[in-house]
């Protein structure tokens, strides 16, 4: 009987010892024997963090199938074109679309939808100069697209925000200028008078939102300004104010 009790006790000790040996490092409560504290007692081992993978997001753009009124887009190789260009080549312009071919360059396609107040320009096919200047950033656009035939403008689209009044040369010697205007905390938005000034010094005032025609650069231009004003930021806003100019100029069908 005594021997049996001893053997049972020995077996129990051996089993306990075996579990202790086997599991002494495997479980979550196996904290470092070097470091003990009452606040550590319920902790589980944290995950291991590896360096985060650095992966650039794909920059994919779905080309819109329709355009909002008063907007345009430029495609090259069926993808949206971004950046600046200044090219001479062959232009075909009709029905809200311009195809432009220049030597040693992929064809460009410009799609546009004019403000509804602005008549469509007459079709054109021939030599033209095409320029895009785009220094836009998220604080505001700074973009102008111009297509000319010699000194005669075919189409201009301008969308700019600037600390100073905007001044845009739409064709050689012909400028569209904004006027200086004061704003303050009470009157944070104020219209900025706008005019077109021809190479011969003639000045045509362009009321915002009204179709205006003027002979400039040898052709009659239809001018339409959708916005011309200065804005001052409100308290706490994240952006600076400035002069806003949005407008279009297209060749008229008048001789």
């Amino acid at each position: 009987m005594t021997t049996h009790v001893h053997r049972t006790a020995l077996l129990a000790v051996v089993v306990a010892l075996a579990f202790q040996v086997a599991c002494r490092r495997g479980a979550d409560d196996a904290q470092s024997p070097r470091v003990q504290h009452k606040l550590f007692k319920d902790l589980k081992a944290p995950p291991v963090n590896f360096p985060r993978p650095v992966r650039a997001a794909r920059d994919t753009v779905d080309v819109p199938t329709s355009l909002r009124e008063g907007s345009f887009l430029i495609l090259r190789d069926a993808k949206l074109f971004e950046g600046n260009i200044n090219l001479s080549g062959q232009a075909t312009m009709a029905d809200g679309r311009i195809e432009f071919m220049a030597q040693n360059q992929s064809p460009l396609e410009i799609r546009y939808r004019l403000p509804k107040q602005l008549p469509s320009p007459p079709p054109y096919k021939g030599i033209a100069e095409f320029s895009v200047l785009d220094a836009s950033d998220p604080g505001g656009p700074d973009r102008q697209v111009l297509i000319r035939s010699g000194s005669a403008l075919l189409l201009a689209a301008v969308m700019k925000k600037s600390a100073e009044p905007n001044r845009v040369e739409i064709t050689p010697g012909v400028f569209v200028n904004q006027s200086t205007v004061e704003v303050n905390a009470k009157v944070r938005i104020a219209p900025s008078r706008i005019e077109a000034r021809g190479a011969d010094g003639t000045v045509t005032v362009i009321p915002v939102g009204e179709l205006t025609s003027a002979r400039m650069g040898g052709v009659v231009l239809n001018l339409f300004i959708t916005a011309s004003y200065r804005v001052m930021s409100a308290e706490g806003e994240q952006h600076e104010g400035g002069y806003i100019l949005e407008g279009w100029a297209v060749r008229s069908s008048q001789p």
Binding site: L10, V14, A18, F19, V21, A22, C23, R24, R25, G26, A27, D28, A30, Q31, S32, Q36, H37, K38, L39, F40, L43, A45, P46, P47, N49, F50, P51, R52, R55, A56, A57, D59, T60, V61, P64, R68, S71, F72, L80, S136, D137, P138, G139, G140, D142, K161, A163, I189, V208, T226, A227, S228, Y229, G236, Q238, H239, E240, G241, G242, I244
Partner: protein
């Protein structure tokens, strides 16, 4: 003789039962397994992670040579630092426990590079005990923290204002950074080699007091961070994300009487969470990949949580289902949006102006006001043609990408602008943290989507050329100061890569304007110092805190 035989039998029995116990209870008795060390290349003192068995192991450096055995964590060695005296070249590393030594992995040590002082990023509370003065288990996270850094804690306020007793400090979390390996750290202002996190038990802390937590690296470099203790146990927010522990554990008792289960939304008491609801204009087409890219951007944040994990958990309700059915609603068609409430008459260039708050009243559940950021993804901002406008340290965001025309549908523009605008809600400006100083949007040495230069293209992380490389993130404050009176364009902003910083016609040295003239919101003089800032380490997630711009709406 009989006794020896009995001991022999007992040993065999122990071994057999041990084997049985292991197979039954899935615990290991063999030598540890080492799959690798990540990264496998680093500078002396750089933190590396162990890929393999970590529980109960130590790391052996220079196996077979003059071995150094390192044990760092509470449960075993998950991370270790390359010994400071390690010579450049390959070194063999293995794991060791009482059962043996693992196979070896190679770590390539680079030539020593400048190692700056630690910089505390965050303090969290992992445990708290007691009723009056409490015993608290802090997690102290810092950039470039040594695994054996010491920590002191001083209580700053009240009658108990004195040094507190700090218990044993031990490494808890880590995040190795492998960026500097491809760059020249000596050309950075504050190269970040890793983030590390210590467990710091502190006794007898007064609730509502401020604690000055100071870490000291092996060479004596220190950094101090003032941490406010919650005023009561009910106000405990362990991870500092503005969602109280009680809300995350038991649900948020909303003003309507409803109980909102934050756990069902996917939050975690020990991980930083950001809750966002997004509704959109019918004219907006949100890119199919946008939300997973936003989630990835925050998951990859170089931020350590109290549970030792890394990253921020952003939960975006765009109506995807489950507990997230509030967002994704199509707002009434409109042209422009304003924060003015009610919306005034449409200004110049803008038709059909609607108030953000008109939408929020109709499409956002007020029960979420203290929990969620609300995003109106509209068309055009009313006053001018910016890509968005958001409260700085608040909860309201307007994204208005119409000025980008066709570009508004690009993943890059949507991702960069969303992270940018949300960054304002998290307290960031275009050129700094919450502070108005240096709030200029085109600083060359701020690699962040908060910078206009990088909002639409991602930050430059590859080659110091200041051209965006498609990574949409905030800054970690690593680049050196650029001082306009003493610009050397031959050195650029990092890696000594020559850059025409002032956008003139030549690479030169001398005074220059680095916040380019002619752009709206820029600064035209040549007298400023421009700094990089640690934006990730200073996000203000608690938008209802005192001092925020949250207006209870």
């Amino acid at each position: 003789m009989k006794s020896t035989r009995a001991r022999y039998r007992a040993a065999i029995l122990v071994a057999a039962l041990s084997s049985y116990a292991c197979s039954t209870f899935a615990c290991s008795s063999g030598p540890p397994t080492l799959n690798g060390v990540v990264p496998s290349t680093g500078y002396p003192r750089q933190l590396l992670a162990v890929d393999g068995t970590t529980l109960g192991v130590s790391v052996v450096w220079d196996v077979g040579g003059t071995e150094i055995e390192m044990a760092t964590g509470l449960f075993g060695t998950q991370y270790f630092q390359i010994p400071e005296g390690a010579t450049a070249g390959d070194h063999m590393v293995a794991l060791r426990n009482a059962n043996g030594t693992s196979s070896m992995a190679t770590v390539t040590v680079l030539a020593p590079a400048p190692f700056p002082a630690p910089r505390i990023e965050d303090v969290g509370i992992l445990a708290m005990g007691g009723a009056g003065p409490v015993d608290v288990l802090l997690t102290v996270s810092a950039a470039n923290l040594d695994v054996n850094a010491t920590v002191t804690v001083d209580e700053l306020d009240g009658e108990q204002a004195e040094a507190r007793t700090v218990g044993p400090v031990i490494l808890w979390g880590g995040l190795p950074i492998d960026y500097q390996q491809a760059h020249d750290p000596s050309t950075f202002g504050y190269p970040v080699y890793h983030y590390a996190q210590q467990l710091v038990p502190v006794e007898g802390v007064t609730l509502g007091s401020r604690l000055a937590v100071t870490v000291t690296n092996a060479h004596g470099e220190t950094n101090t961070f003032v941490f406010p203790m919650p005023p009561s146990l009910a106000d405990l927010d362990s991870d500092g994300d503005g969602l109280l522990n009680s809300w995350e554990e038991s649900g948020y008792a909303a003003p309507s009487g409803a109980n909102i289960s934050l756990a069902a939304l996917g939050t975690n008491v020990w991980r930083k969470d950001i809750l966002v609801e997004v509704d959109h204009s019918p004219a907006v087409k949100i890119h199919d990949d946008l939300w997973q890219e936003v989630e990835l951007a925050f998951r990859n944040a170089p931020v350590l949580n109290p549970d030792g994990s890394a990253g921020i958990n952003i939960i975006i309700d765009r109506g995807q289902g489950g507990a997230l059915t509030g967002g994704g609603q199509e707002l009434p068609d409109h042209h422009c949006v304003t924060y003015a409430d009610p919306a005034p008459a449409p200004p110049l260039g803008c038709t059909d102006l609607r108030s953000f708050y008109e939408f929020k009243r109709d499409y956002f559940n007020d029960d979420r006001l203290r929990l969620f950021h609300y995003v109106v993804w509209g068309n055009r901002w009313w006053e001018d043609v910016r890509t968005g406008e958001s409260e700085r340290w608040g909860n309201d965001v307007a994204v208005t990408l119409a000025p980008l025309a066709a570009g508004s549908t690009s993943l890059a523009a949507q991702l960069g602008t969303f992270v940018h605008e949300l960054g304002h809600n998290l307290g960031l400006t275009h050129g700094n943290l919450f502070d108005n100083s240096e709030d200029y949007p085109l600083k060359p040495n701020l690699p962040s989507v908060m910078n206009y230069k990088y909002q639409l293209k991602g930050v430059d992380y590859l080659n110091c050329d200041l051209i965006g490389d498609g990574l949409y993130t905030y800054s970690q404050g690593t680049l050196r100061i650029l001082s306009e009176p003493f610009v050397d364009e031959n050195l650029g902003v990092c890696d000594n890569k020559a850059i025409n910083l002032d956008m003139d016609t030549a690479i030169s040295a001398g005074p220059a304007n680095l916040n380019w003239i002619g752009r709206v919101g820029t600064d035209a003089d040549m007298v400023d110092d421009w700094h990089d800032y640690d934006q990730w380490g200073n996000l203000r997630l608690n938008f209802t805190a005192v001092g925020s711009n949250w207006r209870s709406n």
